[in-house]
């Protein structure tokens, strides 16, 4: 049996879900014979490869970069997993939705106590007017709520998926857990 190609991506989120993923710890080694991590912020592959079996998505869709990334990832992934509350519900990143991107940037970059207050030009991704959960932009196959989902939960999800089963998460995690 060929190894399952697994990827993870990180959009607008705190990276806590990736931390939780890493907390799977030695159990990841147990899976090593079965999976190959083809792309992840923790393994540094520049471009997202084609024909990925499972992609774990952390974070909400917040910028033009996220938007383009998630479209590409979706097109190249068989099973897309929304990992954690930011991906599932836009969570904390969406709390900026009450402000316009302009007001937000001005508040951050032009704050009176800044040493050299100026708005960024071309150096950071452009903010979308609203942060959205992943499933409002592309189709999501598996939802794993939690902030972050526990390492046990993520291990369970991954093992089920690589064995070709859909995980049943109803008693394993919840929004905000």
């Amino acid at each position: 049996m060929s190894k399952k190609k697994i990827a993870t991506i990180w959009m607008d989120g705190c990276s806590g879900c990736h931390m939780s993923f890493l907390d799977i710890d030695h159990r990841l080694l147990d899976l090593a014979d079965l999976i190959e991590i083809v792309h992840s912020p923790i393994v540094d592959h520049k471009d997202f490869p084609p024909d990925v079996d499972v992609t774990l998505v952390e974070g909400a869709v917040s910028s033009d970069e996220d938007y383009e990334k998630i479209l590409k990832v979706r097109a190249r992934t068989k099973i897309l997993v929304a990992m954690g509350d930011c991906a599932v519900s836009a969570n904390v990143p969406a709390m900026r939705n009450r402000f316009t991107p302009k007001a937000l940037q001005e508040a951050v970059y032009l704050a009176p106590n800044m040493a050299n207050p100026q708005l960024p030009h071309g150096t950071v991704p452009i903010l979308l007017p609203r942060v959205r959960p992943v499933h409002e932009v592309v189709k999501v196959d598996v939802f794993v709520p939690g902030c972050p989902p526990s390492n046990d939960t993520l291990f369970y999800v991954l093992s089920e998926l690589i064995h070709g089963r859909m995980p049943d998460l109803s008693d394993k995690t919840r929004f905000g857990a």
Partner: protein, 238 residues
């Protein structure tokens, strides 16, 4: 004394007094029906629609909280269709406000969150509306975060029916409905609020909270209510 009637709930033979509601009889028999606006000790408004049940011979779905039991009634509290509707109602509630469980004082002790889990919701299928709502932190002891308010009106009712102050009410209508104190003035400046805190204790979400509580620290204690309601009824001679 009212008559005792027998009926079937989910095929199970049960009995209740004819002045009891389907919800009461179901709960007495260990059958859980989800509710968010109902609370023992307050009047019923039948507004959240989560407790809708099927009754044989009635084409409409009936809210269990206000439907009285009757002899020979056959009630179904859980069906594929009811569960689907309930999930959609909870999804509508999540999409209507800004519910960020992970940073909410009521995380883990929230009736909305619990209901979502009970209904096995893993995401919200309705587009989030992301309304802009101002937090009212003007009261010295309590806070109101309308982003977490589901307009169940429990606070309005407890304030009116039990405390007797009627500080809370709803302004506007439809999707623009909003919880207010007095003339839409800051809570801390209310002329009528007695700061009794009953509204905070019975709020199903983290919309009303005690100041100084951090994430997941706000546990509510609504169990005083049936007792107060009973005492109040006794005084009113009913």
């Amino acid at each position: 004394m009212s008559r005792v009637v027998t009926l079937k709930i989910n095929g199970q033979d049960v009995s209740g007094r004819e002045d009891e509601t389907v919800l009461q009889v179901a709960r007495e028999n260990g059958i859980e029906i989800p509710t968010l606006c109902h609370l023992e000790g307050l009047s019923n408004v039948g507004a959240c629609r989560l407790c809708l049940v099927e009754v044989k011979g009635v084409s409409r779905l009936l809210p269990a909280c206000v439907t009285r039991v009757s002899e020979g009634m056959e009630v179904t509290t859980h069906s594929e269709r009811l569960e689907r509707y309930r999930r959609m109602i909870v999804e509508l509630l999540f999409s209507e406000g800004n519910h960020v469980c992970s940073v909410c004082v009521s995380n883990g002790h929230c009736e909305l969150q619990d209901t979502a889990i009970q209904l096995r919701l893993d995401h919200i299928g309705m587009p989030y509306r992301f309304p802009v709502r101002q937090v009212d932190a003007s009261h010295s002891r309590y806070g109101l975060d309308p982003n977490r308010c589901i307009l169940c009106t429990r606070c309005v009712r407890v304030c009116d029916e039990i405390e007797g102050a009627h500080t809370w009410d709803i302004m506007g209508r439809g999707i623009n409905s909003q919880l207010i104190t007095d003339m839409h003035t800051p809570w801390g400046e209310s002329e009528t609020c007695t700061s009794c805190g009953k509204c905070v204790q019975i709020c199903p979400t983290g919309a009303l909270f005690i100041k100084g509580k951090s994430v997941a620290e706000m546990t509510k204690r609504p169990d005083f209510l049936p007792y107060l309601a009973m005492m109040r009824n006794r005084k009113n001679g009913s």
